[in-house]
């Protein structure tokens, strides 16, 4: 029925080819535990293959354009980007220490470190492999499991560098840590694989930002990120992820968080850019009385396609999870929210709340929302809800009746919708930058 032409390129084989290239170049030099991890990951990727149309987790993620693009791993060369370019690309965060990776590699020359409490480590993942080998052996790959996730497997196999953060027990880090990942386009499509491992030990507190950006120029880029965060007992982590890559960019990212007893993790996932964006965000309770908040805010227009998958694993009793995902969709934007809450038999007295609200600014924009509650404990409180709507006529009229123009009124009410999430962005400068973009001259 169909004949393969000789020029046809099999996407899976092409990606396996990238691994072969990586292994040839860097395999020997890698730390043994890391090399083992990578080999296991690529083997699993080869088994899983790329998700097909019958894979429920990927059915609504349109990977076609991504898989058709012949990506090459970003070469290990000095970036063309300067500090001045960064200023144009991302909001300045003078209240935070800045650590920059370009194409998945740490660039100390672009970073702006600040004095941090003694014992706190922020360094490249490459450096950590030699200087913090024990922690790498113990933690890397332990949280972001790739057995069921082809792109976490691929990301684990293909990374070369990234960032490593270690906050030993009992330390409050007063300065937010802002991690910036820039994927720099070249003349051919480029794949960047930033990897991040963050260990926050018992009783510590830290605020983290992860921003992803790419300039609007050159050929397509693909950022394939994997971040693992281990939150120790009674520790508190505030987190924001801001994705504002170019409108031609592909962005597949997984963040997996493990929470020990009594700990708290709160994150705001904010999507502004990208052509295809998928965020897989997982939280796993490893101890009792822990709490996580996973919030999201997506702005999409044009042909943008943004997918958020969250998974909360209530493996332990007395834990609470809160989710509020908001979407503002215009033009032909397509968004997907899939919120899975898994309450195991041990997870008694779970309190899980999930909310999804969508504001449609055009008749052609679509949202696919799917709560997925799997509950095996009997004493739990799980609620979910979703609303989809347009700007309220009464509110628009109220603005017009005060003299605001229709565009200004819509902008104001859109901001009002998004504001609940923006106010929870834990880095003040980032919060202010988002406010200023959405609501000029405040």
């Amino acid at each position: 029925m169909t004949t393969m032409t000789t020029t046809a390129r099999d996407p899976k084989e092409a990606l396996l080819g990238l691994w072969a290239e990586w292994e040839k170049r860097h395999g020997e030099a890698a730390r043994p535990s890391v090399r083992r991890l990578k080999k296991a990951a690529i083997a699993r990727f080869a088994e899983l293959g790329l998700p097909g149309p019958r894979n429920e987790d990927w059915r609504f993620t349109q990977l076609g354009p991504l898989l058709k693009t012949p990506f090459q791993l970003a070469p290990a060369v000095a970036p063309r980007l300067t500090k001045a370019d960064l200023v144009r690309l991302v909001p300045a965060t003078p209240d935070a220490a800045l650590f920059v990776c370009v194409n998945g590699r740490w660039e100390p020359g672009l970073s702006v470190p600040k004095a941090l409490p003694t014992g706190v480590t922020v360094t490249s993942l490459a450096d950590a492999q030699s200087r913090h080998g024990d922690l790498i052996d113990q933690h890397l790959g332990r949280y972001a499991r790739f057995e069921q996730h082809p792109f976490v497997a691929l990301g684990t196999a293909l990374f070369s560098d990234g960032l490593f953060i270690h906050v030993p027990a009992g330390i409050e880090v007063p300065t937010p840590l802002h991690l910036l990942f820039v994927t720099e386009p070249g003349s051919a499509p480029v794949l960047a694989v930033p990897r991040v491992l963050i260990l926050v030990e018992a009783g510590s507190r830290v605020t983290l930002g992860q921003t992803y950006a790419s300039p609007e120029e050159g050929a397509a880029t693909w950022t394939l990120g994997v971040t693992e965060i281990a939150v120790g007992a009674e520790a508190q982590v505030e987190h924001v992820k801001l994705q504002r890559e170019a409108l031609s960019a592909f962005h597949l990212d997984a963040l997996q968080v493990h929470l020990q007893g009594g700990s708290r993790f709160r994150t705001q996932t904010i999507n502004e850019g990208g052509s295809l964006v998928r965020n897989d965000l997982g939280a796993h309770f490893e101890g009792e009385k822990a709490e996580c908040t996973l919030n999201g805010l997506t702005f999409a227009a044009g042909q943008q396609h943004v997918v958020n998958h969250t998974t909360i694993d209530h493996a332990e009793p007395h834990c609470a999870s809160h989710e509020m995902y908001k979407h503002v969709l215009g033009d032909q934007a397509r968004a997907v929210f899939n919120g899975r809450i898994y309450v195991r038999q041990r997870g008694q007295r779970t309190d899980a709340k999930q909310q999804n609200q969508t504001l449609l600014l055009s008749d052609d924009a679509t949202i696919m929302t799917k709560p997925q509650l799997e509950i095996f404990a009997d004493d739990v409180k799980c609620t979910h809800g979703a609303t989809v709507g347009q700007l309220e006529e009464a509110a628009l009229f109220y603005c017009l009746a005060r003299g605001l123009g229709p565009d200004q009124a819509r902008q104001l009410l859109t901001y009002a919708f998004a504001n609940e999430i923006i106010q929870q962005v834990p880095i003040a400068s980032l919060r202010a930058a988002l406010e200023a973009r959405l609501l000029p001259s405040g």
Partner: protein, 254 residues
């Protein structure tokens, strides 16, 4: 200032205003009273330009403009202010941001320089003081979590800051206790002046003890069926609206 002639308007398929005529001159305060469903809020909505109300006949002249040709925001910029019966909550937008945006939209239209945050704050605080309003309300989200009285006071506060030529108060007295009512009335009275027209729409006479109107009109089934001085309000209070309805049914007996 405002001349409404034979105004007909409907909401969806229901005709609500059926030939309403009214003239308001600068410096005058007109009260429009009427039972529920007589068309009071429709009149307010039509004057402010709400899309849901469709004008099917008649004309409205406002200071030489064909009012019905103007978009709602143009009417506001030309000096029409509607104090809403149900002010809308806008979470996440501070009262001060909202109102400064409104002031500046109007000032821009008039060719006046926009107010910066400091100038605006000075103006706002001065007006708040007169309305016995807590300055903290400026930083709170527009009407969010406000009590009924706070919302109505906030409308009058907005009116004071925006300095309209024609103010329309749509049942501003509903849901107010007597103290709040007095404060609101003081705020309105402070705005009375030779250059301004005020239309007070109300179901009850109570508000008119504090805002004494020059003229009182009774709206019934979409038309003004009776007009008079302030004493008409007292008569209505004493006799109820049933009296008007009876009079309407038996015109020969008047």
């Amino acid at each position: 200032m405002l001349t409404i002639t034979n105004l007909h308007a409907r909401v969806e398929d229901k005709e609500i205003l059926k030939g309403l005529s009214l003239q308001v001159a600068a410096g005058e305060v007109h009260a429009i009273m009427g039972p529920n469903g007589s068309g009071k809020s429709t009149l307010a909505g039509v004057l402010a330009g709400r899309e849901a109300f469709e004008v099917t006949a008649g004309s409205v002249d406002y200071r030489g403009h064909d009012l019905l040709e103007l978009d709602p925001e143009e009417r506001a910029r030309e000096g029409i202010f509607l104090a809403f019966q149900y002010p809308v909550e806008i979470p996440g937008i501070s009262n001060s941001y909202f109102l400064r945006a409104a002031v500046n939209a109007i000032r821009k239209h008039r060719g006046e320089p926009e107010l910066d945050a400091v100038q605006f704050l000075k103006l706002a605080k001065e007006k708040m003081k007169r309305l016995h309003m807590d300055e903290k309300l400026l930083q709170r989200a527009v009407n969010e979590g406000f009590s009924g009285g706070e919302k109505k006071r906030n409308e009058i506060f907005q009116m004071a800051v925006l300095d309209p030529k024609l103010a329309i108060l749509d049942e501003t007295d509903s849901g107010l206790d007597i103290d709040a009512l007095q404060i609101v009335a003081e705020g309105v009275n402070a705005l009375r002046g030779p250059d301004r027209g005020i239309i007070v729409i109300t179901h009850y006479q109570r508000l008119l003890n504090f805002i004494v109107p020059d003229f009182v009109h009774v709206l019934h089934q979409g038309r003004i069926v009776k007009s008079g001085g302030k004493e008409l309000a007292l008569e209505l209070e004493a006799k109820g609206y049933g009296w008007i309805e009876t009079a309407q049914r038996e015109p020969a007996g008047v």
